[in-house]
Subunit: 282 residues, 2 copies
Amino acid sequence: MPIVKSIRTLRSLLQKARLKKKTIGFVPTMGALHGGHLSLIRICQKENDLTVLSIFVNPTQFGPQEDFKNYPREIKRDILLAKKENADIIFYPSAEEMYPSGYLSCVEVKEPGNILCGQFRPGHFQGVATVVAKLLNIVEPDVLYLGQKDAQQAIILKKMVKDLNFSVNVKICPTVRGQDGLALSSRNSYLTQEERQEAPILYQALLQAKKRIEQGEDNSQNIIGFIREHIEKNSSGKIQYIECVEGGSLRSLKKLKGKILIALAVFFGKTRLIDNILVNVK
Amino acid sequence: MPIVKSIRTLRSLLQKARLKKKTIGFVPTMGALHGGHLSLIRICQKENDLTVLSIFVNPTQFGPQEDFKNYPREIKRDILLAKKENADIIFYPSAEEMYPSGYLSCVEVKEPGNILCGQFRPGHFQGVATVVAKLLNIVEPDVLYLGQKDAQQAIILKKMVKDLNFSVNVKICPTVRGQDGLALSSRNSYLTQEERQEAPILYQALLQAKKRIEQGEDNSQNIIGFIREHIEKNSSGKIQYIECVEGGSLRSLKKLKGKILIALAVFFGKTRLIDNILVNVK
């Protein structure tokens, strides 16, 4: 399994595959691979001739006060895991390869980048959209695989692909969870043992909220209040936001109807966790 | 010569050509074709198996007070001219095809988009970068042909292609001028007979400035002053800006050295004309 650091080398490898009419699937990651990433690789593997995995901790999507420096980097372990899942190529560029001196360009998906996580992480989704636009131009995959865990990111990237006419299909794959329901995330490694024990409350609260909606509750403020109370009563979690939005546009909903996304961000100690659930109300 | 309005149809046409290993050259225009555009088509024709010409008056690159509504639209004449130059495909989409309801994304090249013309046309180069990013994703050409007449646009698009890793070569082709030196432009049609007679002063002033630099003048303020005086003394032109910048980055220069771009924008009546000249000082 080649581990490629240069854009030029990757392009020439992929060009050869394309000439042999191989289909290319692409899984972009920041490494520190967990079961969620591995499930994306597995799905990609099944659906394409060639699976390209990128590992790049993208500096432009981190705010100045965020965890860029401390973000877990475990490249040797990542390579072993990717090999085990039969990924075909790992693209592992340096920051200089991706953003050479004099770099000036960016891509933005305006509205949905400024709500939910975007309110609290200014510039984050511009960083994400830009790096994925670059990666799509480098890899030119047939299919792009993203995780539902980062729901806002997935929706923004799907919108970018549509708006800017990238010729790639986007597949959003289910969140992978621990046995206790906690969504897998590279940032879970920051949690203390105590925080780790409390964190599954997020998914429990989301599941119970979903049940309430399915039982007829259609007021978003009631649902948000219920989730808030459930988390605050049963854990030390500090809520950053809880929102009920329309699942496609991410626009705020008062009355819960149609395809709803309930999304939240909660701090356990210094660690910020996000999670979400989709509910379909007919 | 097919005239294609739908992105999907264009893609399937081009995919067939690509499977036959044909190289694709691309000339994006806003129509109202003149000798400058035709020279791009001719160069593209020579260097590629297939020449795609796009004609799209892009609304997002016009300011609210600008000439979007009145911009010359001469599609029948354009088709005849393109046929004569043996363009292979004309892509002529509607605004709805390019920006369907709910469109939200944009591409920006930060620094060079905010100087020269960018100071006076906020959002203009974001509009240009966005539509060309879309067109590159739709056409996926081997080579993109741009005119030196719109020097800032060409430099910004070249930078976008490099920064965002579009796999296309960018060729910037020489400005085509009338016998009296006026750079060909679709906006020349706005000029009154009198203004048209005055307008060649721009290139005369640029040529004389170039001569002065080659003779040893290396102070940009002196050159700018000289051009200003030459235009103001000999015409009714109202200067918007005259600048001497570094030819690659478009950064302002005090001392003239290296690859210099002298660029200007001047109003004749209500018509804004731009022109520029490259000077190499060793």
